[in-house]
Symmetry: C2
Subunit: 141 residues, 2 copies
Amino acid sequence: MESEELRNVGLKVTTPRLKILSLLENAKAKHMTAETIYRQLSEGGEVIGLATVYRALAQFEAAGLITRHQFEGGQTVFELERGPHHDHIVCARCGRVEEFYDKVIEDRQREIAEKLGFTLSDHALTLYGECSNGTCTAKNG
Amino acid sequence: MESEELRNVGLKVTTPRLKILSLLENAKAKHMTAETIYRQLSEGGEVIGLATVYRALAQFEAAGLITRHQFEGGQTVFELERGPHHDHIVCARCGRVEEFYDKVIEDRQREIAEKLGFTLSDHALTLYGECSNGTCTAKNG
DNA sequence: ACTCTACATGAGAATAATTCTCATGTGCAA
DNA sequence: TTGCACATGAGAATTATTCTCATGTAGAGT
C-alpha cells in the first residue's frame, strides 16, 4: 500500500502524493521527468499542480523512496528506489536506459574514496554508448 | 600557443576564444562555470558577452578541448582536457574536487557495456563524500 | 466525531541557467 | 583587398525549477 510507504517515512498521506507514487509504480517507463509525471496525471484527469509534483518528488527523494538522475543532455529523471542499488547505461541514439550492478566497481569506488581521504556517501556512474538494438530509434525511458 | 589549438580543431582564432581558452589554462580553479569565466574576464576588463562564453565553451567541448561536468547540486563546470582521462570525487561539505583514475573501473565499464550490447562512447563517474581535510569549510573548485 | 494547527496545495509569479535572435563586426581564403 | 561565412554583444526568449501566498486538509488530541 502506498499510504504505508508515505507514513513509514513520516510524510502525511495526501492525494497528490499517493497519485504520484502510484504513477511511479505503475508507469511503463522506469525513469520519468517531473513534467512527464505532471502531464500523465493531468491526462488522467487529476488536478495536481506542477509545483506539487516537484515538491513531492523532492520529499520522496529526501525520504529515500526515489532516486534522482541527471543523464547528460536530458532533464532530471526520477526512479523508484526498489531492489538493489544499480547504475545506468544510456543509449545516446534512442535514449534507452539499462541498469547494471558491478561489485568490482562498487568496491573499487569505496577504496578510492578512502585512499583520497573521503568518506564516501554517494556516487553517480552513468555509461553512454549506442545500443545495437534493432529497435534503436524511438525515445523511451 | 592557444591560437594553434584553435586552428588545429578548425575554429577561427578570435579574441573571445583566445581569452576564454587562456583563462581556462591559467586560472587557479580547474573547474569553472560559464558564469565564473564570464565574471573573471569582465573583471579583467574584457568586454565579452555571456552568450559568447557559452558558445565558445560548447564549441571547445565539441572539439574535445574541454570537458563538461555536472556535479550534483552544482552548476555545470568546464575543465581543460589535458593529461590522461580521469574521474572526480567531490566533497559534499566544502565542494573540493579531487581527480582520480582507476584502470580496474575503466576496464570494467567497457566490459559491462559490451555485455549489455552497447558500444561505449563516454561515461560519467563522480563520487561524493566528505573529505577529512582540516580546511574543509570554504567552497572552491 | 470535532476542532485546531501545522503542514500541504494550486496557480501563477519569480529565479536561474542557458540558448536564441538579430544587427553588426571580423578572420581569413582567394 | 575584399567578400562572405562565420562570430559577436546585448538583450530577449526559453526551460527547468523554486517560491509566494491565499486557501485547503490530514491527523493528533480531545
